[in-house]
Symmetry: C2
Subunit: 498 residues, 2 copies
């Protein structure tokens, strides 16, 4: 590229003016900044800028939000802190407890109006020693495979298990080939992630049943163990873990995920030597439930303090990675909405609540507890937004609400700078806020970033801080803050905005 | 993320059917596949699919294009070959000549209808030994900086130069502070990339004048050398090179780009010790011009063989990287249009021509020569598209054409799957096809991918194959192939489509 960059320019300009405005704003003590603002206005806009350009107040505020995020990169640094100083944080682990303390400390440090913990009992599963999975009975001895126990798997016998392998490509195929073909064997679910699905979420959705329901299905027909081709979009050899669900009335058998290349090696070995056997050794362990917490921070609404706009992500991660995209990004997106409002002196009408949910990955207890408490107390939620699709470039939002609300959100699309949010889909939310919708009827929003790289890292050891791009992360955060700002200002409907 | 992926689904479905259709198609010898098709149709669609779903022919073809790219990843592998087996390929270098041979061989290997070279004389500049730039006269001795000579820079004296430093933030500031402040010094252009610009191309555009015009401006006022803060969006320490232009009537002084962190170190050192001096040693060298080539491949049009739809990128790269995003991506995007049409049996009405331009980075001679020849021969170009913004997720196209053409392209937007192309901007093209537009009035198109990561790698040693994502690259290629398919089928205007 030399110098021709035509076409793609920001929809909101006026940067020089805003930059000096922001310096002024950020130099003021917070209390003073607040005392100077009119509700829903960024301090100083009316006086300083009205005659200087033709931007509307909303355009100026949106520009200020994006500029703040892109300039400071503060949430990117916060993500680095979470990834590098806390690291893996599976529910029940010491890392998860440190993450809870971290979340509370961070939000208290920012001086949000209210920061507190919500108790929740969570499952506690441990992986144990590094997994061993190897092919035996092949030319030249054995072949080691890269494997991770599927989260929640029971261990193998202490000495491991060894069995012949039967290859299938679906849950249904296990039933078709039946007990005769499966009994005493290790079932290898080999169906790959569908690369043709452009949004990779549904691609993942099409592969994940093997991991989630495959073990019990295999056990029903007498299998002694399960391995799967990882539900990931990459062609590397990092295995992708994730959760499984054992059926109550079926024997619990050990299950592991293989890296893509390891799955290829197993296919090749079985083609060359169908009688080859697989050795598996997992030493995972279930412990009793543990007390943990959702972490909650708020800026109190100036007009409707009892009406809550929720923005959340989940604080727990799988144990094998830093949980950078999943869901460190959602954590800092959520904290970031409050932080950006605070820094820009945006005083919301409604209470804006950031919720860092515990235990999304293997139990959803945090989301369930939150909904239970909300229902009991009768707290009113205007809407709830979840960010749990990674810290990639923003593309859209999915919204589960009445059609008129969706149309209203679509009318705001021109306010989002080009190359950020381009669509509002009907239907969307997140795992953690699903129970709240079911229990209280709260409308929900899911943030949709670009999904092409997400499942290269998802639930794998490769989901580390280094694979998050600063600008992409901050643009996602700014997009979310923008939507929350507009919802707070205008409400879901005209009658509510009064 | 657990299992809630709402909203973001592909706009074009019908995968299972197409998948078996594609297997069939690809199993056929190419000649047979061609003999079976109707013009502009994918073989077998009418018979096989009309009753099976409600997709239009265009929707089916677009789905087929995206599926082919995402499933095979063939262009990603081709990019790996270019990056790893050819590598750096600055004009005039041995690498550039190997790249020319590679491009010809690849397209001949695919059996395109016509593959040929177009001669062009190109400049030949060499970097020489690794650059040495260090701060002298500071506490504790000296500080080494990460630096790269700016492309085209003259060398320093063989023993290097040592001089005090004056810090400026713009071309204009050099004139403001004047000869008294500048004479005998090394000018340090310290203005950083503007992080607030959302599309990073314009952000780069706002910083690059320091690199391009800064050296001659400093020399005008008596400077003996120039260093710049690299025109990159990252905060790492990899310097970003690029080209400069010396004015004819001004002394040519050596110039180097510093990594972001090295620029910070220099700022800090000068704050602590304003009398600190900078030592620079560059051993770059200009050689006489060298004969090189644009590489051209075509599929001949079935109805209008003399009317050309051009899709291009540039084959040369800077010498310090693999040129993966810049512009290996554009090379495989261009070859990929022809390859995808060939594999799917799409027989174009117009001649589709892929042009791999030589010398975009430091001379533009390939683009100039191509336009000169096109003008001389009177070849008719319907339109020319350039991909030179990297192999990132597709977002839009910029189009320089009459308004009615742009409106026509916009009417095709619903055919692009969600999460690919969402806008057609007015205005766009590329450096290599700019001369063709100026000489012949050919309308131009620039491909616009997501730009957030582009300038982290641009012109830096970090622009390697590993920072290209397979799905993002292939989606970009599929988006370009889709637009070319639609232009070929429908023309720019109704009267031309007859």
């Amino acid at each position: 590229m030399l110098s021709t960059y035509s076409g793609a320019v920001s929809g909101v300009a006026c940067r020089a003016i805003l930059s000096s405005f922001l310096s002024l704003c950020m130099a003021l003590p917070l209390a003073l900044a607040f005392s100077l603002v009119f509700p829903h206005e960024v301090r100083g806009q009316t006086e300083d800028m009205q005659t200087e350009d033709m931007q509307t107040e909303d355009e100026r505020t949106v520009t200020a939000i994006f500029n703040e995020r892109l300039t400071t990169g503060e949430m990117y640094r916060l993500l680095e802190d979470l990834c590098k100083n806390i690291g893996p944080r599976l529910s029940g682990s010491e890392g998860a407890e440190r993450a809870v303390a971290w979340g509370k400390e961070v939000m208290e440090g920012y001086g949000f109006d209210r920061v507190y913990l919500q108790e929740v009992m969570v499952p506690h599963w441990e992986r144990g020693d590094p997994e061993q999975v190897r092919i035996l009975g092949v030319e030249g001895g054995m072949i080691e495979l890269n494997a991770l126990a599927i989260g929640g798997s029971v261990p193998t016998a202490p000495a491991g298990i060894t069995a012949p392998v039967v290859v299938v490509h679906s849950i249904e195929e296990v039933e078709e080939i039946g007990r005769e073909a499966v009994e005493g064997k290790i079932v290898f679910y080999n169906r790959a992630f569908d690369q043709t699905v452009i949004a990779t979420g549904p691609g993942y959705g099409g592969a994940v049943d093997q991991r989630f329901a495959g073990p019990s299905q295999a056990a029903k027909f007498g299998a002694v163990g399960v391995v799967i081709r990882s539900a990931g979009s990459d062609f590397g050899d990092a295995p992708h873990t994730g959760g499984l669900r054992y059926l109550d009335d079926v024997e619990r058998i050990p299950a592991a995920a293989l890296g893509y290349q390891s799955a290829d090696r197993l296919v090749e070995a079985l083609e060359a030597q169908p009688a080859a056997r697989l050795f598996m050794h997992l030493s995972s362990k279930w412990h009793p439930d543990v007390l943990s917490h959702n972490v909650i921070g708020e800026i109190t609404g100036s007009e409707r303090p009892d009406e809550i706009i929720l923005v959340g992500g989940h604080l727990d991660s799988w144990d094998v990675s830093e949980g950078a995209h999943d869901d460190g990004a959602g954590v800092v997106h959520s904290i970031g909405v409050l932080r950006t409002f605070q820094k820009l002196g945006i005083r919301p009408r409604h209470t804006i609540r950031a919720v860092l949910f515990m235990n999304e990955e293997n139990g959803l207890r945090g989301g369930l507890k939150y909904a239970e408490v909300a229902k009991e107390t009768g707290e009113k939620h205007v809407i709830a937004l979840e960010s749990d699709s990674g810290g990639f470039s923003p593309r859209g939002f999915g919204v589960t609400a009445e059609d008129d609300v969706i149309e209203r959100f679509r009318s705001w699309l021109p306010l989002f700078p080009q190359a950020t949010i381009s669509y509002i889909n009907k239907g969307g939310g997140g795992a953690d806020i699903g129970p709240l919708r079911r229990e209280t009827g709260t409308p929900t929003i899911g943030f949709i970033p670009d999904s092409q790289r997400a499942f290269d890292y998802h639930h794998a050891p490769t989901d580390v801080f280094e694979v998050v791009n600063r600008r992409e992360l901050e643009l996602g955060g700014a997009s979310i803050a923008t939507l929350i700002y507009l919802i707070d200002k205008y409400g879901l409907r005209d009658e509510m905005a009064q």
